[in-house]
Symmetry: C2
Subunit: 210 residues, 2 copies
Amino acid sequence: MTQSNKKPRSAYHQSYEIIRDRILNGDLPGGTKIVEDKLARDLGFSRTPIRDSLRKLSYEGLIVDKKVVQPTEKDLRNLFQVRILLEGAAAKSAATYLPAEDLKSLANCVEIGRDGTTEDIMEANERFHEIIVQASGNSLMIETIARMKSIIYLFRKTVVLHNRPRLIDEHEEIYEAIKARDTEKAKQLMEAHLEEDLNFCLHILRSQLS
Amino acid sequence: MTQSNKKPRSAYHQSYEIIRDRILNGDLPGGTKIVEDKLARDLGFSRTPIRDSLRKLSYEGLIVDKKVVQPTEKDLRNLFQVRILLEGAAAKSAATYLPAEDLKSLANCVEIGRDGTTEDIMEANERFHEIIVQASGNSLMIETIARMKSIIYLFRKTVVLHNRPRLIDEHEEIYEAIKARDTEKAKQLMEAHLEEDLNFCLHILRSQLS
DNA sequence: CTCATAAAAAGTGTATACAAAATAAAATAA
DNA sequence: TTATTTTATTTTGTATACACTTTTTATGAG
């Protein structure tokens, strides 16, 4: 999630990334009250760029009512319903046509999924979905999913850290369907894959709440 | 689109609505360069709330690169692809269960569509879709579509002003399917309905560009 | 003690100032 | 002229101040 920044970026971009990462890695746990002034002094910026960051984080759903979000089971279901619709369609597009280079990248993601470190696996899995979403060629769809990225990350972490079985197998099956240009199968496999992710997350979530 | 405000709202809300409406009614035509200071002096606010408004408008896609958006044919297709996926699913949900009250509202929208003024028709058609989207019970989906609302409005205007044939008939068919609890039919009709909207918009758009 | 009210503190919205960055205009060389 | 560099102008990003709102804490009545 953390991206390497070449140039020194604006206070807004910096603070956005810092706050986002603090939320994502649990440094700012769900429910934490967010106050502009406190963050500003903490990060050494003025309130102005902090405010901008918080607004963006609110759009992404990471901050709700000036508190760090605590996704509920319902939120999880909602997220996956939308993902299934959009990424299912994206998988279909990808199967219609995907440049050889991207196809190779997909294969590479599967490979890393089999023998990479935990961190590499997480990154590869994210990239796997990213490539397929991009293949939709629909900038609105791409942006809509990008907006959900942070929340997805929260759950992807769960899935990988708890080592969901068959995750990489499913990626491979999707890859094969795309490679074989079987649009309907690619779509169905992607939908089933996300459904499995959802069920796994629900399972973990429930066992954590008990 | 314009909503009646009971209380005097914040400068941010006011300016957001003013600027948005200026874009939507063509007062600020596509391609217009947006300058914070100019708008601030124009509306009598400081730059701060104006900046907030512009950021929100950018999120909604009404402002791109500090210029008023000029949706392309590709944008139109992208928008409708996403709408078809999301609103198709919403229609299915609505057919699964819709409170009697909402069902009645849908019928009322159809009725207004048949014998209302142009403005009433536009509002009723918007409400028709709104009710169905709400019926999805998925707040993320609701919000995602809300975010596209302004751009949708731009096109809905086209559809109604140019009096697309069968528009209200299609609404009625969707309403009947929902009433009959035929989930698959409701979904298919909604998809077909939006497809028709898209084709009509494309037609108008092309004839305008020539 | 519980509820209501008042006082205090904290937090946010907005205006404004200024420096840095981006853009436009002007001057100069080819 | 066209291309290129310099200078001027505009525009944006950020910091800061202050008034207004909301929240918290304290105070008093029942």
